[in-house]
Amino acid sequence: MSNDFYTSSILPYAAIIIKICRAYTNTQQDFEDYYQEVCLQIWKSRNNFQARSEWSTWVYRLSLNVSMTLLKKQKNNRQRLASDKLPSDISDEPCIFIDDSLEQLYAAIRQLSEVDRGVILLYLEEKTYQEIADIIGTNPNNIGVRIKRIKVRLKKILDGKIN
């Protein structure tokens, strides 16, 4: 991956990648691995971008897909290793934001399903229902209902924790 490509095509959209990767990881180490993997996949798939959508939309889509895939792989590995207490699981530095409320919100988002995490992240990024549906690959009519349900769930999880 060239420095130029990273600076011009990834770094301006790093915020998107960071926000998504944080929602799919619990530790700083995992977050960095996910971030690197997303960057690498963007670089590898750059020729597949056909300018039908904005570059930023494509980055959202790719970041979500990569994060969901990595999370699935990680879950499978953890299931296989369920009997072994890995020291890295215990000693890994957790993801912590300076803003406590944001940390609580992320902790709540991490309790959602993989797809719901994607939907709510896109909603919080002020994407339209149509854009969310395009990125996730679903019907825009379902998005509104889904967001309402997710918000209720998040409110329940966060109830009393944030003022």
Partner: protein, 216 residues
């Protein structure tokens, strides 16, 4: 008053520290180590397969009345397993701390050298196995009836062996010896093909990455 999630989100990211991108570096480290770990596991399974298979064959040869042949096969296969174990030890010595590219390159070199060493060993092992199987089965107790029947119906016998069949088997053994390296190479591709393809892909990608400017 309780904040909405939208407000938490907006306010949380007002702090620039929340959006500091980690450094992108050495991305292939984990992947390359994973490829070799997978190979080592398969290699170890293969060694155990050889030991268990040849032991079962040895037991079967005892019941078939071909204990000598069974013993020779067992010794040959234990030699193969021991060599494989030594190769595995050499593989474990590859330094995982070096760059991913050098790491995978070392692994690829190890595979080439290993195929070469095995090729030389199989130059002896393949012909011996064929001949031992042939002679072992032919002279085994369970084959006594057939042996007598062939001897009664054919004049082409020497030392209790059918000449033409024996010549064909010897030719096959010699050919196996000559082409041992190619046969072993094909074996490796059959067993480890998936991993080797991944290795080639990873190396090709890294070479592409190396051609461009590295990330600072």
């Amino acid at each position: 008053m309780e904040k909405s999630i939208e407000t938490i989100w907006k306010e949380g990211f007002l702090n620039r520290d929340a959006l500091i991108a980690p450094k992108v570096n050495d991305i292939y480290n984990m992947k390359s180590i994973h490829i070799i770990d997978k190979f080592q596991k398969l290699f170890l399974i293969n060694i155990w397969g050889i030991i268990i298979g040849s032991s079962l064959l040895f037991i079967a040869s005892y019941f078939a009345g071909a204990l000598l042949a069974g013993s020779i096969v067992l010794i040959m296969m234990l030699w193969v397993a021991y060599t494989a174990y030594q190769e595995l030890k050499a593989l474990e010595k590859i330094d995982k701390g070096q760059s991913s590219y050098t790491f995978l390159k070392s692994f690829k070199d190890w595979i080439s050298k290993s195929i070469d060493r095995y090729g030389k060993m199989y130059r002896v092992v393949y012909p011996v196995l064929i001949l031992v199987f042939y002679f072992g089965i032919w002279f085994s107790d369970i084959f006594a009836g057939k042996r007598e029947m062939v001897a009664a119906n054919s004049n082409d016998m020497v030392f209790g062996l059918h000449i033409y069949t024996t010549i064909i088997i010897i030719i096959a053994a010699v050919l196996m010896g000559i082409f041992s390296k190619a046969i072993h190479s094909k074996d490796v591709k059959t067993i480890y093909g998936g991993i080797l393809r991944k290795l080639d892909l990873a190396l090709a990608e890294m070479e592409e990455l190396r051609d461009e400017q590295p990330l600072s």
